[in-house]
Each structure stands twice: as C-alpha cells, then as structure tokens.
Amino acid sequence: MSTRDDGPPGTQLVVGVDIGNSTTEACLAEIGPDGSISYLGTNLTRTTGVKGTPDNTAGALSAIRGALARGGRSAGEVHRVLLNEATPVISGLAMETITETIITESTMIGHNPTTPGGEGLGVGTTRSIGELGEQEPGQPVVCVVPPGWDFDDAAAAINAAVGSGVEVVAAILAGDDAVLVTNRLVRPVPVVDEVAAVEKVPLGMLAAVEVAAPGRTIRTLSNSYGLATVFGLDPAETRQVSPVARALTGNRSAVVVRTPSGDVTDRRIPVGELVLRGAGKTLRVDVDAGAEAIMDAVARAQPLDDAHGEPGTHVGGMLAQVRDTMADVMDSPGQPAVPVSDIAIRDVLAVDTFVPAEVRGGLAGEVALENAVALAAMVRTSRSRMQLVADLVSEGLGAEAAIGGIEGEMAVNGALTTPGVDRPVAVLDLGGGSTDAALLTREGKCTAVHVAGAGELVTKLIDSELALGDREVAEGVKWFPLAKVESFFHIRHEDGTVQFFDEPLPPHVYARVVVLTPEGPAPVPTRHGLDSVRRVRREAKRRVFVVNALRALRQVAPAGNLRALEFVVLLGGSALDFEIPDMIADALAPHGIVCGTGNVLGTEGPRNAVASGLVRAYAAAPVRAGQGPTR
C-alpha cells in the first residue's frame, strides 16, 4: 500500500466516512499544509449491514467512490480515509396492552352506529319482533329485530303491533336499517342499529334505548343518576352501574339492559415486570404501572447497566431479541461466540399509548381505546470491529484507512461548521432507532449519550393509535403534512388554508384525508378526521422526540442543568421533519437555549456532520502539522 501525492506539495486528499445505522455518509476534502480545508464533495448511501460490523465495507466504499466522483478525483489520489469509531447500536420496540374492557351478561350496547334512527329515550321490556303480537297492550316494549328482517317488513310488523295497541317505545336492529325503519313508522321511536350479535340481547328484561339528535350526545344513559332514575336503582346499585355510564359517555346512541348481575369492567392486565439494574441498584417495576412509573424507575437507575423483561411477555421477548441480535452481529468466524450476558440493555423509553380493541362480550363490535405501554430499548457494546472495517476499506480502495475519531465528538465538530454556532454546543442526532446527544464544552471536552426511542417508535405509535395496520401509511402520516380533499379542485390544509388546482385530483383521494407526499396526495385509510390524525401525529412526536431531547440533553449537560447549554444543533434524518425541530425548539426555549436544525458546511443541512467532523479533526491534529501523513 503506498501513498501518493499528486496535488500541490503538502496538500492531502482525505475522505471522512460516517457509518450510521441507516445511512453512510462521506465527505471529501483537501487539506493544505497549513491545515486549511477545501471541501470537494459529499455523498450519502445506505449502510450495508449492522453499523460497526465488517458488512459496512461495501456501503462505505460506495459512499467514498460517490464522493470521489462528485469531487472529480480518483481513488489513487486519496491519502487517507477516516472512519468514525462506531459501536453497533441496536434498538427494539414492543407494545403491551394493559387494560381490557369486558361486558358481562350483555348489559350494554355502547357502539356508535353512524346512522341511528329517531330521537329520545325509550324504556321498556325487550321482546323479539316475531312475538310482538303476543304482547299485552299497555306495557312498554323495546323491539329486538334479528338479522334477515327486511326494513320494510320490520316497519310493517311494528306498525301492525302499534295499531293493535302494543306500546313499542324503541327498537334494536341487527342490520344498518335504523333510519329506514324509523322513516316508515307511524309513531317514530329511538332505534339503535348495526348490533351484529342482536340475538344475545336478553329478552324479557327492562331496557333503555337512547338516541340523541345529530351532532349531540346522549344525556341520560351516560349519567349514573340518569341510569338510577330509569331503572330505579339504590345507591349501592348506582355505584355498580357507574362504569356503564362512563363507557357510554360521548356516544350518540346507546342501549342499557338491566340484568341480574350484568356489569362492565375495566380490568388491568398484568403483563409482568421490568427489572432495571444500574447505579448499584436493582429496581423492579410492573409494566402495567404505565410509562410514568417506568421512566421514574429508569431515572433512578441511571446510568443503566442492564434491563430484563419477564419471559413470555412482549417486553421480555423484545429485550431478549435485541440482545440476541447484537450477539449475532458481534460474532465473527473463527472466534469464540460473544456471550449474550456480555450484552447489556443501556436505555429504555416507555411511552403511554392506546390501542383500539374490540370489547370482550360486546354485542355490536364495540371498540374501546385500551391503554398500552410502548417500549423502546437500546443495546450497545464496547466491542467495536471498526478496525476490521478500516482494513477492508483500505484493501478495497487501495488507500490508507484509519479510525479518525469517536462519533459523538465528530458530530459536534461537524455541527460547528453550521453558520452561527459556537462552543459550548450540544448536538442532538435524531435517528431512526436512537436519539443521540453530545456536548462540546468551551474547554473542548466532549461527552456523548445514546437514548432509546426515535423515528421508528413514532411510526409505531401512529400506526397503532390510528389502527392503520400499515407501516407504510404510518410513515406517510409521520413525514408529510395532512390535508382534506374537499372537491376535485381544492384541498384544505391542516392549518385551514385552502389550495386550488387547475387539473382535477385523482378519484382515489376524493373526499379523503390525505398526506401531501412529493408525488402528490395519498389517502390515509382511516375513519378519523383530519384533526384527530394530526393530534395523534404530533403527540407521538412529542412523546418520543421532545421527551428524548430533554432526557438526552440532561445527561450531557453539566450537572444536568439545561441552562448551561447555549447552542443546540439538531442533526440526523428526523431533523429534516417538518415539525419536530420546531417542537424541540419550543420545548428548549424556556431554558434560554438557541436551538435549530444544523446546516453542516453551510450547505449540507443536518447531514454529513460526522463525516466533515472527521475531516476537521484530522486537519486540526497537531501530529499532522508539517509532518505529512503517518502510517
């Protein structure tokens, strides 16, 4: 391996290479004898393999070749390739549902059919429509209509019964027929429909059916005392039915049946413990205690040495899998396997979330928003195999390659090329699996941390909270602003402004909530309105990135004091997000911090910080001055 010097005497061509979790970036520069730097080109490719492993070589080489091509240089001219000291970071995600709503004895129908019929409250005894004729006059009846009944026939049967003196006060239908039936009744009554399991409604029981006017919600059945009045309950019984009232709050229609021991329960599901070891302590916390309790425990066990979850739970499985993956990655042929016990979970982020789930015992496919906890965990090792990557890069390129510096330090170094930034500066690298922070003090001392939870967790929260079941759509919701397509020629943006088009929009987006991708509007398949989609998106970002920004910065700030920071520079893929940088800046503003998205080299935006930091560090290194490259 030889080094050549084809440039002006004393100048050196170097390439900084940053191997990240998802992208590999390169920065090509020429360094003058005086340490001056001229940047010639940058490049970005996908990282090959898990960061910090020999598989990275291919991606690194292609990043380098790309930068060389852009800078118009050849591999033979390169003096030295500088790689970051990157340790593999692997992150994992899991979600545990921790509550469950159960209806017993078919006490309640609390779903929200889009089109109930009639209006008001009807209280009577439940009777099947086929038996209405046998009913004695004068006793109020709630008519139950099984599947298969045509709306015309059902209305005719009820009208006939009413005509013969039966007092029908309300109806419960299997099909989506409430408006149709109500429109055909001689005497309209409240009707609740789309009750799929209508055959399970107990007959011969006292029941109340309430339907509110369009745009209103029910008043009586969602009020414990309303229920007490309707069913003549004593205080003890009233206490018992209060979960029913709570469950019905906000509905436009509802049915409550009084059965001997019917009940609605809101049960917590035990999902096992999380065991956190750190700061000389071992703390145990129940996952179903929620995010706040878990994060309290994590804070008390800082710095975290390791964490375990209960086997057989999602969290336990996820933590074990993260560990196993890391062990596999670290294994190299011909060497003893890395013991799994060597690999430790170094951070955990818990976030409260909710999951729409079908209610057990429900008659109409009722969906309750159950509480859940999402966890992100992160593992890193001290074992780096970057030297091997450097050797392979050197071999592949025919130029010298070396480890040029530690990632966090280099990121800060690169961030300093952002116009308007000075020491002390902290960087926040908002990635896919982890959020990283590093601080460079006025004195030049650097500290860095990685915390679990970043873009992937945001996607997962959006996906589950909106019940999308499609990660691609969730990614779209995360990345792009929303709009509602109001006609073929205009959309309303999420900020309320209207945009008109000359050419009609494509039919598949008509009347839909859409995300505005660069390729055009793409529909979000959800029944949620634009506002709730937006709320879910922003909350997911806040709970992950804002929380993690504060958490990570506290860990690097002197004495954990955020006020001691002056400049915070946001880097990484999620720093390109259209709202996350503003959300973080807003959260940091009260601490007197200048925060913004980085603009590395004044041109690269939040990209290329580590790669250009490596070049800067090399140019500034005293060992190099006047001495030329060393081997």
Partner: protein, 570 residues
C-alpha cells in the same frame, strides 16, 4: 351468491340421473346461443365479407368487397403491409378448397404454402379454414408451425408478489421444461424485485430460459432494456377499428412500438384473440374468427416476429358458442400459416370441467405449437396473477402422463423430487445473495427453507412490504441492470448461474432472439424458425418425440419396474 353456485332447481321432480348431471362441473360453465348479426358467432357467419382483391398501380385497391376509399384502418394497414401485392391476385384466385388441401397435404412443403398465403386477404383466409374440420386444422398446424421443436411457456407469479416464491417457482418451472416464463404483479411497484427473482430463479432452473414481466409499456420496456427481463408479449391488438381505438392504439402506433422493442434487442410478440371485439360490444357484425384473422395479418404487417393468440382472456366467449374451440384452433393455425411464431393460448381459466379443460388443449398439444400454452400456471392458480390459467401445478402429473400416453411433446417433463428441492433451494439462496449484494431487504434463512418446500404463497413468512417497495424503487432509482445481477451472483459464489445469465444478456447484443420463434436451448443455442425450420413432410418426418427426449418423457412419478415389479423406476 357466488358464480360457482350450482344452478337452481326448477321445483319440478327431477330424475336422480338428472340430479347427478346437474351437479357435474360442466354445468357451471356458461353457454349462449349464436347471434351472428352482432358478431356473437365463432366462424360461420353470413355477415362476413366475401373474399376479393384487386391490384392497381402497385397497390391493393379492393379488399374483400371494399374499395380503397372505404377501407377502415385495419383494411389499409393489411393492404399496405401484410399482403404481398405481387402475388395477391394470383393467390386469391386459387380455389379455397385447393389451398385448404395444400395445408394438410404432406407433399406440399411449408414454403410452398407460404408462397400462397402471403398474398391472401382476410376473407380468403377465413374461406380456407372454414373448410377444415378440427383434425384437418391440427394436421395443418403440425406442418405450418414455424419452429420444428415445440415448446411451452409458464406463468410464475405470487398472490403476495413474494419475490422468493417467484424465484423458487421459476427455478422449478424452468427445470420442468418451460422455455419462457412470464410474471406479473398484484402491486405494480413490486415489479423490479419480482422481475429480478424471475430472472435469477429461471437461470437456476435451466440456463437460457427467457423471462418477461407484463406491465404497462414504459416500465416493461425499461425492465427489458436493463436486461432484467428478456422478452415481452402483452402488446394487444384488435380486429375492428373501433375496439382498437378504444384500446387507445392504432396499427401504426403498435407497429412503431414493435420496432422500439427490437431497437433495444428485446424479443416481442403481439397478443390478440377471438371474442375480444364482441366482448367489447363492437364486433361490427363480423364473426370472431374473421376479426382475429385481421389481427393476425395486422401483426404480420407490423413485422413483429410472433403472436400470442387462442382467444386468451376472452376464452369464455368462444367457449360458450357452437364451434368456438374449432375457431380457436383455427386462429392458431392462421398465425402459423402466415409464418408467425404462435404462442397458442391455453393460458386462462376456461372451464369448471376437467374434461373440457383437457379437450380444449388437444388441438395445440397433439400437433405441437411454438408454445403450447402461452402461460401454463407454474404456480397454484390461487397465486396466478393473470386471473388463473387453464392448467396449473396440480395438473403437472396429468400433463406428463398425457405426453407419455400419446407420445407427444408438450414441453414439460417429470422431474424427481430431490432435483426440484435442490433447484428451489438454490434459487432462493441465489436470490438471497443477489438481494444482499444489491443492498435490498434481506431474505432470511427461514424464507429459503420455506421456499424449498412450499406450494403456494401461503407457505412463506410475511415480507416487510414497505421495505420491499422501497427496495424496488431503489432498483429503478439506482439504475440496476442485468449486469449487476451477474456481479452479485458471481461474487456470492453462484458462478454457474451468473454465467447463465450473462449468456442470456449477451444474446441481446447478437439479436438472434429477435428472429421468428426464437428460444434458447440449455446449451445456449438460439433455436428459431431459421435454424430449426419445421420440415414436416408426412409420416416419419418433422419433429418426432424419440431418443433421449422420449426416454425423459417416459418417466412419471410412479412407474412399476419391469425387471423388479416390487419396485418403481425413476
């Protein structure tokens, strides 16, 4: 209410036999009466024109009873490009019965027939084939097929667009004998990955297999130009001007497109078939076969090397009228008798009746065609993204047995389980290596194992569709070509597969596969109507299933040994 529910009974008392007959699958098929005024008739219609031709000033001025000023664009294109002006009047003057006899007479050479047919008008061609019964049509096909050696084409698709499945099934299909493999997609954006899988899997199964991915023109052409696919055939043409325009094309636009494919070195054939015009309500009162003959001549005039016909996706229409399958057999013959490569249908779900499905294929299987099926489903029909074929993987053993029973070559063969498993496993591994080399979403070892033993897409682990689609996009964005596949295969130790693929790519430069009926043999010899011309001249001549190939086709899954009847051979 599903389309496969049995017919409702009439309420009258039925005989027990009638009940059994009512329950037979054939009675789930639909049949209709003819309506010749509207073109709902196979090939015998009083409304078809009578043949006539007149040449003046070096061009055709009268065609089938119409004067040049009254020509629609099909007439014009056929008159200008398809019919040999010099011989037209003379050829059309020959009595139709004499031409029909030439078609079946072994002592009239194929070339002698072509010398006549190149001057015939559409109505004259119809007049000739109308004289032929189905056995005569088969005899004509036996002689007029362009390539001496018959072949077959397979469909390799996945209901989940799973590339690993496509690779494994392509390998098995190629090993079983398909000379061409075709795929298409449910989610179109998956195309680059599935096309790569088809190419890699195909070359594992048998070097030299040609692959294609049916898509809209721009993407299909691009995949072809990059060498990820090798040929194209879903370029549709129609027999009436109005339906052609409905399809947003004209004979000139399609002729231009044909040259575009050739200019990129890509083999291509057109697609047409009886029934499409009446299906679209614009048959202009002409029989299905007359309109299809116009398509065949239009394809001939465009200079495309071949045609996929045999009703194709409209098979339910001729299949429902009297004499419909005779017309379908005749349209294949017409393609062959004007010297085009014929990929002869049998490629779409056709009947509920196994007996009818088999019978439908006999006029192509027994005489042999360039491709007996233009898509035998080499995946279970539930995975067939061309809406199901007339034959699928469940029919492999039946097909092989019929070949052995009649000593005919339908292009397939029985392959031992161990060889199949080996090919499937290798195809999945090769694709795994290519994906890794190209930095595409990884293929796990579990997926490789699943691919080895799977039947359908349900037997594979779920893929991360989002990552796959991003990967597929990156294949397009990064400009990945067939060469990158070769590099990936070579660098990961699949040297033989890499060589196979490189050899296929090299063919692009030579253009040898552009000639009529060209396929690549396992030895990478281009075999076309030029160097393997059909030389049938009666009993004992032409292609005969004999020698090594016949020994191969004698093998079945279970054949009792004659030397030791307690064991099986093979």
């Amino acid at each position: 209410m599903t389309s496969t529910a049995p017919r409702q009974s009439t309420g009258h008392r039925q005989s027990l036999r009638t009940e059994i007959l009512e329950a037979r699958p054939v009675n789930l098929d639909g049949f209709v009466e003819e309506w010749p005024e509207k073109g709902l008739v196979a090939m015998e219609s009083a409304f078809d024109p009578a043949p006539s031709v007149r040449v003046a000033g070096g061009q055709i001025v009268e065609l089938d009873g119409k004067l040049r000023d009254d020509f629609d664009f099909m007439d014009t294109f056929i008159a200008n490009h398809a019919i040999d002006v010099a011989s037209a009047e003379e050829s059309n003057a020959i009595p139709s019965a004499e031409i029909a006899r030439m078609l079946i007479n072994p002592s009239v050479s194929r070339n002698a027939v072509l010398a006549v047919t190149r001057g015939l008008t559409p109505a004259k061609v119809l007049d000739v084939v109308k004289l032929m019964n189905v056995v005569e049509i088969m005899q004509g096909m036996q002689k007029m097929r362009a390539r001496r050696t018959p072949a077959n084409q397979g469909h390799s698709t996945s209901a989940r667009d799973n590339p690993i499945q496509v690779a494994a099934d392509a390998a098995e299909g190629a090993l079983r004998g398909f000379a061409e493999l075709e795929t298409t997609l449910g989610v179109l954006r998956y195309a680059p990955l599935v096309a790569i899988a088809l190419q890699v899997g195909g070359q594992v199964g048998r070097g030299g297999v040609l692959t294609q991915c049916a898509l809209e023109e721009a993407t299909e052409l691009e995949l072809g130009m990059r060498g990820i696919t090798a040929y194209a055939e879903t370029i549709s043409i129609y027999g009436t001007e109005s339906v052609f325009i409905d399809g947003d094309d004209t004979p000139w636009s399609k002729a231009f497109l044909a040259a575009a494919y050739a200019s990129r070195g890509i083999k291509m054939r057109f697609t047409s078939g009886t029934g499409s015009e009446v299906q679209m309500g614009n048959a202009e009162g002409k029989s299905m076969l007359y309109l299809e003959i116009r398509c065949v001549l239009m394809a001939k005039g465009a200079g495309v090397q071949g045609l996929q016909n045999g009703s194709i996706s409209c098979i339910g229409v001729p299949g429902a009228v009297p004499g419909g399958l005779r017309a379908v057999a005749a349209e294949n013959l017409v393609a062959s008798m004007v010297d085009l490569e014929c990929a002869s249908g049998n490629d779409q779900s056709f009947s509920h009746s196994a007996m009818r499905r088999t019978a439908r294929a006999m006029p192509q299987l027994l005489p042999g065609t360039d491709f007996v099926c233009s898509g035998y489903s080499s995946v279970p029909n539930a995975d067939n993204m061309f809406a199901g074929s007339n034959f699928d993987t469940e029919d492999f053993d039946d097909w092989n047995t019929i070949q052995r029973d009649f000593q005919v070559d339908g292009g397939l063969r029985h392959v031992r389980e161990d060889e199949i498993l080996q090919a499937r496993e290798k195809a999945a591994r090769a694709l795994q290596a290519v994906f890794a080399h190209l930095d595409l979403p990884p293929i796990t070892d579990d997926e490789v194992v699943a691919a080895t033993y799977a039947n359908s897409s349900n037997d594979y682990p779920f893929r991360d569709v989002l990552s796959d689609l991003k990967g597929a996009q990156s294949v397009m964005d990064r400009g990945i070509t067939g060469l990158d596949l070769v590099k990936g295969l070579e660098s990961s130790g699949f040297h033989d597969v890499a060589e196979n693929l490189l050899t296929v790519l090299r063919q692009r430069v030579s253009g040898d596969l552009l000639q009529t009926s060209a396929v690549l043999t396992a030895d990478f010899v281009p075999l076309s109507a030029i160097n393997d011309p059909n030389d049938y001249a009666g009993p004992g001549t032409g292609y005969r299933l004999e020698g090594e190939r016949w020994e191969q086709l004698k093998k079945l899954r279970h054949v009792t040994s004659s030397t030791n009847p307690e064991t099986e051979v093979g």
